[in-house]
Amino acid sequence: MSTTTTASPNEAKLWGGGKSPFNSEYGKVMMWYFLMSDAFTFGAFLISYGTVRFSTNGWPNSNEVFKSFPFAPEGVNAPLVFVSIMTFILIISSVTMVLAVHAGKNMDKQGVVRNMILTIIGGIAFLSCQAWEWNHLFHEGAWWGSNPFLNADGTASSTNFTNFFFTITGFHGFHVFSGVVINIIMLIMTLMDKFEQRGHYLMIEKAGLYWHFVDLVWVFVFTIFYLL
């Protein structure tokens, strides 16, 4: 940040005042720093999870816990299958979001609308999957303050496994939900030609940043809760 003294002439111009040093409007700068701040919120949650897990002798085996699948017979043993579907849904919705941003850069309204709709569908699909999983776990007896699962080695487990699972996936789900709401607003604004009138689709880009961040957090949540 304080590298301006040694900056090349080009960079000096960038930092010389009267314009954005990042070539981007302040809204995008703010969005980036907001996401960074949010990264610390999620980081604190996940690091707390790690800390408690490191300070506990046993921990449930995620393959034992997350082994069910919708509509499959009771007692089916399909670890990782359902969550991998959720992961792919989110990755695909992230791709459609990129395509929407890309279409916005080309002022291609049709492309924006199509891809935003796909992104919203992806978001809703993800939330539905999460709702099913929460519901299923709840019926197995898991909830905040209640953990029916045993540690991997067969010893009694503390409730913190479910406490953290519901808190963190819940907080992530809340972000997905607000992302879907934001995307719907963006879609409506696109359909109303708001961005055509403005001459740019920068709002889509900012919504895109937020949506990718939600995907990014899921990469960590997915790995930490389901794989490690």
């Binding site: 960074m36 991998s84 990755i91 019926h139 960590f220």
Partner: protein, 167 residues
């Protein structure tokens, strides 16, 4: 970075190719993670499991890099913006390191000085019947704490874990 803005078509094609490439990379990494995950289920060697977990963490970081760099477009931003993102994020190194270090130290302390804590980690518990594990009521949280098994602060012999552990 080397995109020329004059050649719009070429730029477009390049961007689409990049999106395609990153999508494939993310999918492949996820599939590798899943394969490793499945493989891990059948393993018993602690060292091997640790190695796989390490690999999964590296894949996770790689995926995060691709999402941030390409989907969030950070790689194509001005270098200074990249730095203002990367420098603060590097605080996570010590954030994670110190927390986990102290977490595992807390476990060692408790294992050393709290015999009950250590003893608990050795007592196997009956796996409950599936049906019995269900909630009696939606609201399990406000059970009077005293009604649950009393283990803390009382004598350790009463710690009979088969009484409905840890609701």
């Amino acid at each position: 970075m080397s995109h020329s803005h004059t050649d719009h078509e070429a730029h477009n094609a390049e961007a689409m190719a990049e999106i395609k490439k990153v999508t494939i990379i993310l999918s492949v990494f996820t599939i590798i993670e899943l394969i490793l995950g499945f493989w891990m289920i059948s393993l018993t060697s602690d060292a091997l499991i640790l190695a796989i977990k390490g690999t999964i963490v590296i894949l996770m970081m790689a995926k995060a890099f691709y999402i941030v760099a390409y989907f969030m477009h950070l790689k194509h931003e001005v270098k200074n913006l990249i730095m203002t993102i990367i420098v603060p994020l590097s605080l996570f190194v010590w954030f994670i390191g110190a927390f986990l270090w102290d977490g595992s130290s807390f476990r060692n302390l408790r294992n050393d000085y709290d015999p009950y804590f250590k003893e608990q980690a050795t007592i196997k518990v009956e796996k409950k019947e599936h049906g019995a594990a269900k909630h009696e009521a939606t609201d399990a949280k406000h059970d009077a704490p005293a009604a649950k098994h009393e283990t803390i602060g009382t004598s350790h012999e009463t710690a009979k874990p088969e009484v409905e552990p840890y609701y």
